[in-house]
């Protein structure tokens, strides 16, 4: 009965209730977004790092992957040393460099970012069509594949340096396009190519040098311990576990996490204010009705639970509205933030983490209950006589 009284009270003021639910829906959607943002990119990035099975990165000492142009020299020997470290399953060398594609009989050039890889052990791309690049071949990223002459089967002329006196690419070398790949670390629209490591080292005159190694560890091995063992075995390098890289990213994204905390708190306050206002006014209007119920002998706790149910109901329905709205808003906000330069297209700022989402919604519902408790307690402790007199007036 008490529940139906609460429901009737909400239905009696339909416009007010609908507005309150809409407000709570928007606030809980914002709270949901901030919950998803707080750990979204970190979780998404963690997944990306291990996507190709290489969870460690070995870089020149003190630098993060592709942070500087410094390279690891004597790469063949270093790779062999890393392979001998306990717990290492595979080693993927990568050299990153800028190349020039010769345009119109050598009069002009186009820049393109190139990665030198060992196709059998590489962490940069997933083959979409064609085949891995053999010597004299390059694999192109999707954004490049649609633009001739980068289409698979075509031929391009590449050079690693420009002639300082003529401004033309020096020592141009023809390459055939072997296929198309999904370059997992590229940002949206990035034009990248991958070619055999030895070919790139020759083009840019960096023999036996790499920018980094991706290292795969055997199942069950402790990543941190393997990283530490690599640093001991190879002087002059830093070995980062997935945890280290995620932690470095976390430091760089501190602003977003704190913004999420601030905006999430604001959304929560707005929700609490809305529910509190609606329930308080609703209870205030029914002071006389509640006094009558008490005069009839209805127990205080039943009346209180009715008032609490009112807040709970508004919060619940508000959450139901907020959930799809929040997911839609997350998609829109994600599209905005992915325009930040250098962010891989595969990561997402807003990631659905069911426990976090459930936690956020539980908080909104908890706020609804708390917002009903205060006016409810006041209504059931107020003198019955004054309530009845108010009703009579």
């Amino acid at each position: 009965m008490i529940l139906s009284v609460s429901l009737r009270s909400l239905l009696r003021h339909r416009t007010r209730t609908v507005l309150a639910i809409a407000g709570i829906g928007v606030s809980s959607a914002l709270l949901l977004n901030m919950t998803m943002l707080a750990g979204g990119l970190t979780g998404s990035f963690e997944e990306l790092i291990g996507l190709r099975g290489f969870t460690l990165r070995v870089t020149p000492a003190g630098s993060l992957p592709f942070d500087t142009e410094a390279g690891i020299r004597d790469a063949g020997r270093v790779a062999a040393v890393i392979r001998d470290v306990d717990g290492v399953r595979a080693v993927a060398p990568v050299l990153g460099a800028q190349l020039y594609r010769v345009v119109e009989e050598g009069d002009g050039h186009e820049r393109v970012f190139a990665s030198g890889v060992v196709p059998d052990d590489q962490l940069l791309y997933e083959l979409l069509d064609g085949r891995d690049p053999a010597p004299g071949e390059v694999l192109v990223s999707q954004p490049l594949a649609d633009a001739p002459p980068w289409t698979p089967g075509g031929e391009v002329v590449l050079a690693g340096r420009l002639d300082p006196s003529l401004g033309r690419p020096r020592d141009p070398t023809p390459f055939r396009i072997s296929g198309t790949g999904d370059f997992v670390f590229d940002y949206a629209g990035q034009r990248s190519i991958a070619l055999p490591l030895a070919d790139l080292q020759r083009l840019v005159d960096r023999p036996d040098e790499v920018s980094l190694f991706g290292v795969g560890v055997v199942a069950g091995a402790d990543e941190e311990a393997v990283a530490a063992a690599i640093e001991r075995a190879v002087p002059g390098v830093s070995a980062y576990s997935t945890g280290d890289l995620v932690s470095a990213l976390d430091d760089q994204l501190l602003y977003f996490r704190q913004l999420a905390a601030i905006l999430g708190s604001v959304a929560l306050v707005v929700t609490a204010l809305l529910i509190g206002t609606i329930v308080t006014i609703g209870v205030r209007e029914r002071f006389g009705e509640i006094a009558t119920l008490r005069a009839l002998g209805i127990a205080r706790h039943r009346i209180l639970s009715g008032v609490v149910a009112e807040g709970l109901l508004i919060a619940l329905v508000g959450c139901l509205v907020g959930l799809p709205l929040g997911y839609w808003m997350a998609g829109q906000l994600d599209a905005i933030l992915l325009d930040v330069p250098g962010i891989p297209a595969r990561v997402s700022f807003f990631v659905i983490d069911p426990p976090r989402v459930a936690g956020a919604l539980a908080i909104v519902i908890g706020v609804g209950v708390a917002a009903g408790l205060l006016p409810g307690a006041r209504a059931v402790t107020a003198p019955v006589v004054s309530g009845l007199r108010e009703e009579a007036e």
Binding site: L19, G23, V26, L162, L333, D339
Partner: protein, 274 residues
């Protein structure tokens, strides 16, 4: 001369009385962390080099200019003469970039064309282009803030309308009495809208004060987190005017909607309980 920067390792060093050592400038935060004082001797080695550490004398302590583009990479830095840094690195006679100052009469485009004809492969950016390139991230973040702002305005608008409806609902009987006494529909309408304007003005003023206070707290908090003089939240007169205008528009809109509901209802029905 350009002072090049690189990842270098500071090695603990005993105090040495070497007068002719090359000097470095140490950023204030690093000087406090280690700690270091002017005249101290430190040994530096480039992380990317296997060469031996070289001794330097701390010649001064500097405060890094507040630069929002470096806030996510907030490592402390030291500055040294280009030739001294080159001595630490495996690559010599190489710089990351040159900064070029032009004569006031010089034509920027001609100079750029001339440099491009000399240094093939070099990218030359005028100050405006460089600022534009460097601010891409902030433009994106600004768009994100705008989107969040729009959601907040939507939530505030709904909240305001809800509060106005509640206030008007509370006074249905009073309004009904006024109408029965002969007060015109228009007067009742204007009374409610005026009340909404008063609430919106009071709320906007309170919001401006609260916003200014919160901006101060946010700036103080982030200044502590990043140890920077950058300001993360600014409340300018323009922002206050826009926020107050928005508050007023929302408030008046909510008041008009609530007033329409009341003024369209027959006076005898206004007395009925809802």
């Amino acid at each position: 001369m350009i002072l090049a920067l690189a990842a270098i390792l500071l090695l603990a060093a005993p105090q040495m009385a070497e007068a002719q050592l090359p000097e470095i400038l140490v950023e204030r935060r690093l000087a406090e962390q280690l700690p270091l004082a002017i005249g101290d001797t430190v040994h530096l080695r480039a992380l990317a080099s296997e060469g031996a550490p070289l001794p330097f004398r701390v010649g001064g302590v500097h405060e890094r200019a507040a630069d929002p583009s470096r806030i996510s990479r907030n490592e402390p830095e030291v500055r040294l003469q280009l030739s001294d840094l080159e001595a630490l690195l495996p690559d010599h006679d190489r710089v990351d970039r040159f900064a070029v100052t032009l004569d006031p009469e010089a034509d920027q485009d001609s100079v750029i064309a001339w440099i491009e004809s000399l240094a093939y492969g070099a990218a030359i950016y005028p100050t405006e282009a460089l600022a534009d390139e460097a601010s891409t991230t902030f433009r994106v973040i600004s768009r994100f803030h705008d989107a969040i702002g729009a959601v907040t305005i939507l939530a505030s608008g709904v909240f305001l309308l809800c509060v106005m409806l509640i206030r008007v609902d509370e006074r249905r009987r009073d309004m009904g009495l006024l109408r029965l006494m002969g007060v015109s529909r228009g007067t009742v309408f204007r009374t409610i809208v005026l009340e909404a304007v008063a609430i919106a003005v009071a709320g906007s003023i309170a919001g401006a004060i609260l916003g200014t206070l919160i901006a101060g707290v946010v700036n103080r908090y982030f200044a502590g987190v990043y140890d920077t003089t950058l300001r993360f939240a600014t409340v300018t007169p323009d922002i206050i005017i826009v926020a107050m205008a928005l508050g007023l528009v929302l408030g008046i809109g909510a008041g008009v909607l609530a007033a329409l509901r009341i003024s369209r209802t027959a006076p005898r029905r206004l007395g009925e309980g809802r």
